[in-house]
């Protein structure tokens, strides 16, 4: 037993990902990593997420690659088909656009198009997120594109322990998984997970229980939901928070159960609001619970524009905690 006076051990999000990769590689010799600058000689990854892994597991299994996203994902697809569990790092989510053919036409479809004869158990780790002035081509949230493709799973963790448990599950999953990390969130700390901590894919969590309204989010939006819930509590509004953890396929059961109880909901994400994940979730709630809702489901997302560079514009464009609070007040009247 840990001494109760001792502060629980905390780790950063990036560390949690590193630990999950190390555990998966230790558990299964077929887990290999591919990506730009990921080996220690090249710095252990631009965000140091793979630091120390090539030293521990060798450069055969932790391979720095040319700047060739199609070739990186292709190598992952091919090796996955014949027994490997490759984890490809596409440094930033915007670079996924360059590899979309491999992801959409091949990784997602080969199981189906082969009648189940071949499978593609790969994981693509990628990071993104606005708020740090990286501008229009290094910050986009493109999860809705990927969630729309049958055959892909899409995962986003909101805290280090979940990142550890979800990344491990993603690597071991027999389907192709896109694991979305959050660049500004890499340095956020949270309680360290137990070494055997696993979070199953497809299961949402309810990190805060409440009775008046459900805030549904994933990844970077969860911290905003918590902040909003704290403030709203001062006004006497009790928020429940559902952290999807797996965006596709999402845990309808947990979402619907929560909204059936609170009879009101807001979906919150950093991605552009138009045609976003929030539209699908909101739609499903309306389809199942329309007559029980106090008001239509609300959506909070970022503005309909590329991510702006200037901090003044970026701030105005980006979703934030105030938007969540405003939306809740609007819904609950």
């Amino acid at each position: 037993m840990t001494d109760k006076s001792e502060k629980p051990k905390e780790i950063m999000f990036a560390q949690a990902c590193n630990m999950a990769l190390a555990k998966a590689m230790a558990d299964d010799p077929k887990v290999i990593l591919l990506g730009e600058d990921i080996a220690d000689e090249q710095g252990g990854g631009v965000f140091k997420v793979t630091l120390g892994l090539s030293e521990k597991f060798g450069t055969d299994r932790v391979r720095s690659t040319p700047i060739s996203e199609q070739a990186i994902v292709g190598a992952a697809v091919g090796s996955a088909m014949v027994g490997y569990k490759p984890v490809a790092e596409i440094m930033l989510m915007n670079f996924i656009t360059v590899a979309m053919d491999q992801i959409v036409n091949h990784a997602a479809k080969l199981r189906f198009m082969s009648g189940g004869q071949t499978t593609v158990p790969l994981t693509i780790r990628t990071t993104t997120g606005a708020g740090t002035g990286l501008g229009g081509q290094h910050s986009d949230m493109l999860e809705a594109w990927l969630a729309h493709v049958p055959g892909l799973k899409v995962v986003a963790a909101s805290n280090p322990a979940d990142a550890y448990g979800l990344l491990y599950s993603s690597i071991m999953d027999p389907n192709p998984v896109i694991f979305i990390e959050n660049t500004p969130g890499y340095f956020v700390k949270g309680p360290a997970p137990a070494p055997d901590h696993v979070v199953p894919l497809g299961k949402a969590s309810v990190p805060r229980e409440g009775t008046d309204i459900t805030l549904i989010g994933y990844g970077s939006s969860i911290s905003r939901c918590h902040g909003a819930a704290d403030n709203l509590a001062k006004d006497g509004i009790s928020c429940e928070i559902v952290d999807l953890r797996t965006i596709a396929p999402f845990d309808e059961e947990t979402v619907l159960k929560s909204v059936a109880k609170t009879r009101a909901a807001v979906v919150v994400h950093e991605a552009v609001r138009n045609f976003g994940v929030g539209a699908e979730i909101s739609s499903r709630i309306h389809e199942e619970l329309f007559s029980e809702l106090k008001a239509p489901v609300g959506r909070v997302g970022s503005g309909y524009a590329p991510v702006p560079f200037s901090p003044a514009i970026e701030k105005a464009w980006m979703f934030n905690q105030d938007d969540v609070e405003r939306e809740v007040h609007k819904i609950l009247g």
Partner: protein
């Protein structure tokens, strides 16, 4: 292109047997589509039979193949049973992919046919992944990756060949250069004089060969396979060939100059290979027996494909993910 000695008699008979099956299958497909018995988009392979047959004669069943939508010749040469292939072309449950892939997406791991892609150039990065697995497993397998000259104008070609060379992967990039990418002649859309030059530019061992010459093509294939198995890395083979029925069935080939087509037909690799067999004392009766056996295989396979049942509609919910999708 270097002159090569004639391949061994057994090898030439093997190549002819595969090539004749391809030629007869292509003819039969075109007949059946023309007669309305099959409703598919078909990319004819007539004229390119010898390239694949010689290549696949140089590898084993366990070696991998990644090919493209114009892939019937590669798939048959690699050894997919005709019945399974025909049934897939017809969209039947007994097909290689339960009717869910179709002609452009044939997969048959039992014979090493891992991917058939409908996206030009896309197979190249995937072939690297298969070869990477072989390299890590030290299983001695090679991966053959087929594509056309048009694919060398897409980014995946350059990314893929570069990575294969950097990692010395056991892969053979077989560019079947039929001089046309869809309706566009190579001279119009390709900046280099040859595909071999592009391979050399990327640092690969690169050769150009008359792909329609069974002995020359086999020698080039064998050398590339040995090079890859020895751990030296990839080879780009530019195999010169021609397709007689355009990009897809129904294409009138109006964009091909008459004289070019006439010359290509004079150089048809199939009668040439047949004559070569006669020249090395394979009897007319033996050749006829091979042809008759192939005809019987195709007759049985095509009838099987027509008679076999379609998959149930609900099959769309299976194989999307590892678990069935709810109705």
């Amino acid at each position: 292109m270097a002159n090569t000695d004639m391949a061994d008699k057994d090898v030439l008979i093997d190549i002819f047997t595969r090539a004749d099956l391809i030629m007869q299958s292509d003819i039969k497909f075109r007949q059946m589509i023309g007669a309305g018995q099959l409703q598919i988009v078909y990319y004819p392979v007539r004229g390119q039979e010898v390239v694949s047959s010689a290549m696949m004669a140089a590898v084993n069943k366990e070696d991998y193949l990644v090919t493209i939508y114009r892939g019937l010749h590669d798939q048959l040469a690699k050894g997919i049973p005709s019945k399974d292939l025909w049934a897939e072309f017809a969209g039947k449950m007994a097909g290689t992919c339960k009717g869910k892939g179709g002609p452009m997406h044939i997969t048959h791991p039992e014979t090493g046919v891992m991917v058939t892609t409908g996206i030009v150039g896309s197979g190249i990065p995937i072939a690297n992944g298969l070869a990477l697995a072989s390299q890590l497993d030290k299983d001695g397998k090679v991966t053959v990756c087929c594509f056309g000259d048009g694919a060398t104008n897409i980014g995946a070609f350059h990314e893929g060949l570069n990575m294969a060379q950097v990692w010395k992967l056991p892969v053979i990039f077989l560019c079947q250069n039929n001089l046309y990418s869809e309706h566009t002649p190579m001279s119009f859309a390709t900046s280099s004089d040859s595909i071999k030059q592009r391979g050399e530019g990327l640092g690969l061992r690169s050769v150009q060969v008359n792909g329609n010459d069974a002995s020359a093509m086999y020698a080039a294939a064998k050398e590339a396979v040995e090079y890859a198995r020895a751990g030296h890395g990839p080879t780009l083979i530019e195999a010169m060939t021609f397709r007689f029925h355009g990009h897809l069935l129904g294409d009138t080939s109006h964009y091909i100059p008459k004289e070019e087509m006439e010359q290509a037909k004079k150089d048809d690799p199939m009668p040439i290979l047949r004559q070569q067999l006669l020249d090395i004392q394979v009897s007319e009766a033996d050749i006829a027996a091979i042809e008759a056996k192939n005809a019987a295989i195709i007759e049985e396979a095509s009838q099987f494909a027509l008679d076999a049942p379609y998959p149930p509609g609900d099959e769309y919910r299976i194989d999307v993910l590892d678990v069935e999708i709810a109705a």
